[in-house]
């Protein structure tokens, strides 16, 4: 093992934030989004962010906090309906919103992390989602070519991790976290329970530690 632990301080994490960067966030309605890392992004003062994730949660939870505080320039998500501030800023022209069907979003992120140039999906054929996209027909079924998505940083939320960064998620907190672990240049996971390397059963590891650059300890609840 080259390093004994990937655990870093919030101060060390802040050196990775910069204006205009793209950030992928795990989570579904805020569940599985790392609250402490979101707070650090907010407190660091960075702005003009592009945020990529399933939804913009609520005004005071998950990534919604960054939108309410005007730190976001662009959102790529499948759903913004639970955070009225996202819709308000979109209609006012303050932020750009790209809506992507949820399964397509998952596959575009997976492609971004898996070395694939895109995915063919029937989802969106015959709807506004197909506008401007290449269509291909095989065996009588028409597909849209959907391109990969990557980000400068991915912020994940894990229930358990060892010092090498092997991650375990809890219940429905898994959602987009494992696929985002492959699709960003810098991957940081907020961890509720940090355990000694070797104490997670290898069969239970959901995200291999080599994909994770840094760990942040969650605040006590």
């Amino acid at each position: 093992m080259s390093k004994s632990s990937k655990l870093i301080t919030c101060e060390q994490l802040r050196s990775h934030f910069r204006d205009g960067m793209s950030i992928m966030f795990g989570g579904f309605m805020g569940v599985g989004t790392p609250p402490r890392i979101i707070k650090e992004i907010l407190d660091s003062g960075v702005k003009n962010l592009t945020v990529i994730g399933n939804d913009t949660a609520f005004m005071h939870s998950g990534v919604g906090i960054l939108i309410s505080n005007n730190r976001v320039a662009k959102v790529i998500a499948s759903h913004i309906g639970t955070n009225p501030e996202t819709g308000r800023q979109m209609i006012a022209g303050e932020i750009e919103v790209e809506l992507v069907p949820q399964g397509t979003l998952a596959e575009r992120i997976r492609c971004g992390g898996a070395g694939l140039g895109g995915v063919l999906t029937p989802t969106g054929v015959g709807t506004v989602i197909e506008d401007g996209k290449t269509k291909l027909t095989f065996d009588g079924i028409t597909y849209l070519v959907e391109r990969p998505i990557r980000a400068d940083m991915a912020i994940l939320n894990a229930h358990r991790a060892d010092h090498m960064g092997n991650l375990v998620y809890l219940r429905a907190g898994r959602n987009f976290n494992p696929i985002m672990a492959l699709a960003a240049d810098f991957v940081v996971a907020e961890v509720e329970n940090l355990v000694e390397t070797g104490s997670i059963d290898p069969d239970h590891v959901m995200t291999p530690g080599i994909l994770v650059n840094a760990l942040i300890a969650a605040e006590d609840k």
Partner: protein
């Protein structure tokens, strides 16, 4: 019994023992209350699990439904990530999805994710669900609050998916798409064919087997 519960009760008769089912938010979540005796289904939740159940006792960490609301899980539940969740959905492993609708038309097109300039919540998982589920039932009130038709010749709102709807359940009627043709198969108790025609813009045929809607389990609620 109100319109929503009547519709849920009718749709519940469509579920077969062993089905894997994804229910949209709102009215469709009432359907499990009306399952016929001996019919056991598995509920898929697009945020990443099979085995969704009602909340029992206190909410548990990270155990939420696709609306972000605390829920329960049944014995045998499996959790997974969003790519797996939508592989299950898009790959035809969900037998039935039931969703609400803003508009449905006689070609089997569904619009239920946005009203341009008014409501742009995003499609979430709806486009993938309607595209990938083996059967798609739209469960909705027959007309708008102002009495306007929702079952149209041609949808006017942006589509969720093209030509994927297999049946429509309302408080007045049940329609199936039979050989691509919108077909009235049931009329709710106390409703006349004339009333259905007056509140339906779409052209439809009346099945030779058209009968009164049976609601055998509806008194249990």
């Amino acid at each position: 019994m109100d319109a929503k519960n009547l519709i849920a009760c009718r749709v519940a008769q469509e579920l077969e023992d062993g089905n894997v089912v994804n229910l949209g938010i709102g009215l469709p979540t009432l359907i499990p209350n009306y399952l016929p005796e001996g019919v056991n289904i598995t509920l898929q939740s697009e945020n990443g699990f099979l085995g969704l159940g009602p909340l029992v006792g206190e909410p548990l960490p990270y155990l939420v439904n696709a609306g972000g609301i605390p829920c329960g899980m049944v014995p045998g539940t499996a959790f997974f990530d969003s790519a797996m969740s939508f592989a299950i959905i898009r790959g035809g492993h969900v037998d039935l999805t039931v969703l609400g609708g803003l508009e449905v038309d006689q070609e089997g097109n569904l619009a239920n994710w946005m009203v341009p300039g008014k409501m742009v919540p995003g499609m979430g998982g709806a486009m993938d669900l309607v595209t990938g589920a083996k059967r798609v039932i739209v469960a909705m009130e027959h007309a708008t609050k102002t009495g306007g038709a929702k079952i149209l010749k041609r949808c006017t709102l942006p589509l969720t998916a093209a030509a994927k709807v297999t049946a429509i359940a309302t408080e007045l009627a049940f329609f199936r798409f039979i050989k691509g043709q919108l077909t009235l198969t049931e009329i709710a108790p106390g409703v006349t064919l004339e009333e259905i025609r007056a509140k339906t813009e779409a052209e439809f045929v009346v099945s030779p087997d058209c009968r009164e809607m049976q609601l055998p389990n509806c008194s249990q609620q």
